[in-house]
């Protein structure tokens, strides 16, 4: 059973989303996703300042057996990326919801925020996966 923190929101493509305050949103990939991918060896991150549309492919996580796109869980502008992952991508395996975060962005229009899954909805989703 993978770890699904109750205070986070999730997407069906296995990204998690956290509100940091100051209007900044952070996201990464879920414990379920990192477990399915296996040992991560490389992460490609978007440039700071890039405008992302919800659902747009914005990062790539590569493991010893697969490379997978990460999709923006909401629209917004990239304000920070986790540079530590460039040299230590295994942070995603060790701590997917903390040190393994991928991108921080400033959402474009809070009103237009997409419907994200709650932790319990995501638990059901991964059970069916």
């Amino acid at each position: 059973m993978s770890n699904i923190p109750q205070d986070l929101k999730f997407t069906s493509s296995h990204e998690w989303v956290k509100q940091l305050g100051d209007g900044i949103t952070e996201f990464g990939i879920s414990d379920h996703a990192q477990h399915a991918l296996g040992d991560l060896v490389f992460v490609e991150l978007p440039d700071i300042g890039r405008a992302l549309k919800v659902g747009e492919s914005c990062a790539v996580v590569e493991s010893v057996k697969a490379a997978s796109d990460v999709y923006a869980p909401l629209s917004g502008t990239v304000v920070a990326v986790n540079d530590q992952l460039r040299h230590t991508p295994e942070l995603i395996n060790r701590d997917p919801y903390g040190g393994g975060w991928l991108v921080r962005l400033r959402p474009a229009a809070p009103a237009a925020a997409p419907a994200l899954m709650s932790a319990s909805e995501y638990a059901l989703h991964t059970a069916q996966d």
Binding site: F42, E44, D47, E62, S63, K65, A66, A67, D69
Partner: protein
């Protein structure tokens, strides 16, 4: 056992399942005008003996001319050990060795190829070959667009003195994928691309500059100045090189202050016969920082569970069987056998042998130039130094001259009129180590006779 596994019954069951009336109906989307309705224009089948007779007759038509044409494919001596080694059953396949546990020998040979080519080009990593030099350049352009994240223009600068076939293949392949090309003119008296020509692009968003060294005319480019200019603009540098020449020239990894970013070329000069234009193999090397954008197979060295060294395909997550539509290329089965010929050739010659081939080719080309430019009606068009090719201007159209030489058993060069009409009558000529002083003298006499007869006529 039948060689065709589907019986008529299998076929009709499969068609029935997908609801198609016939196999023909599956090809309906191909316009009728493009389809061959019948094979009635084809000759009847021949038996093995008849095919052999026909092929021998065709081969005799080729003759054994004395060939002074280079232009991207070069006649070098190939030690007999090259093709006898690669014809061994253990090696004789072009296919990718996916099954590492059963393919250690092939994987090791590819690893050695990659190591030698990375060293020759001054790069950190080399892939397990591409189709040929021209398609390798097209792939390099697409790779540069992916790799240069500072550039969003997808604009590539292509010199006019880059091989015309490389230009055509690259523009055809990448031009339909949103890449835009700008042509750089060459200096009419010297044949190279002047750094000043690039000034027009200063401050603009350029994704990459292509530099061929030596260029199509055989002339040396000022690679340091061109590379530094491109890097100062935020552009990547794609080097197109002749591997033989690298035994003498500065490797692209040492061009300018930072070195080229991607190096490509045709591996044919390394152990592959001219063979009517192919098959050859393309090579591509780069720096580790760009490795995930590089197309093609890569073999790496690793250790097994017991710590013993071994070889395996690596970084496969870039490739289409894992990355699907987002893979860095559609290259799968490559030119493995030709690449192996290159590997054995390089291993047999060694660094010193390759240097002697390069030096001798350069020396023979100088002799050829010396002999031909002493003939009335012939002159060198470009003053700048070069490797083992040069452009000879003639005082009359080249085609009839070449036809006369051909009748005397000499392929006297490539007529440039279709590629560079602005040069006037001109030939691109090459002499490698395979051309003796006697060969060069006999060409000189023949050309002198042909031009004198043409003047008298």
């Amino acid at each position: 056992m039948p060689f065709i596994p589907h019986t008529d019954q299998d076929v009709s069951e499969m068609l029935g399942r997908i609801g198609a009336p016939s196999i023909e109906a599956l090809f309906d989307e191909i316009p009728a005008a493009l389809r061959v309705a019948s094979l009635e224009d084809f000759p009847a089948a021949l038996n093995e003996f008849e095919v052999m007779q026909l092929m021998q007759a065709r081969a005799r038509q080729d003759g054994r001319p004395l060939c002074f044409i280079g232009a991207g494919a070069y006649e070098h001596h190939i030690p007999a050990a090259v093709w006898s080694t690669i014809s061994r059953g253990e090696f004789y396949s072009a296919y990718t060795p996916y099954q590492a546990e059963a393919s250690q020998g092939t994987l090791q040979s590819i690893y050695e190829y990659q190591s030698m080519m990375a060293s020759l080009t001054g790069m950190e990593v080399c892939n397990a070959s591409l189709y040929d030099g021209a398609t390798a350049l097209a792939e390099a352009v697409l790779m540069a667009v992916r790799a240069n994240r500072r550039s969003s223009s997808a604009r590539i600068l292509l010199p006019a003195n880059l091989h015309p076939h490389y230009r055509a293949v690259t523009v055809t392949t990448a031009g339909n994928q949103g890449v835009k090309f700008e042509e750089l003119r060459y200096e009419r008296g010297q044949g190279h691309t002047a750094r000043e020509t690039l000034e027009a692009f200063a401050g603009q968003d350029i994704t990459a500059l292509v530099i061929q060294q030596p260029n199509f005319f055989g002339v040396f480019e000022d690679v340091d100045a061109l590379t530094d200019f491109a890097h100062a603009q935020g552009a990547l540098v794609i080097a197109v090189v002749n591997p033989t020449s690298l035994a003498l020239l500065k490797p692209p990894g040492a061009w300018g202050g930072k070195g080229a970013n991607i190096v490509v070329g045709d591996g044919q000069p390394l152990g592959c016969p001219l063979s009517s234009g192919g098959p050859y193999f393309g090579f591509m090397s780069t720096r580790m920082e760009h490795v995930r954008q590089m197309p093609g197979r890569l073999v790496g060295r690793t250790v097994d569970l017991d710590g013993r060294p071994g070889f395996t395909l690596t970084l496969q997550a870039r490739e289409q069987h894992i990355r699907r539509a987002k893979a860095t290329s559609n290259i799968c089965t490559n030119q493995g056998l030709l690449m192996l010929a290159g590997t054995v050739y390089l291993a047999l010659l060694g660094a010193e042998g390759l240097e002697r081939v390069a030096a001798l080719s350069m020396q023979r080309t100088e002799q050829l130039s010396h002999v031909l430019t002493s003939i009335p009606g012939a002159r060198r068009l470009f003053g700048r130094a070069g490797f083992h090719e040069f452009v000879l201007g003639l005082d009359r159209p080249a085609a009839p001259v070449l036809a006369e030489l051909s009748a005397r058993g000499i392929e006297g060069g490539l007529d440039l009129v279709d590629y560079y009409p602005e040069l006037g009558p001109a030939l691109l000529l090459c002499a490698t180590e395979t051309k003796t002083a006697a060969d060069i003298d006999s060409y000189g006499r023949a050309l002198n006779d042909v031009l004198r007869a043409a003047r008298a006529a």
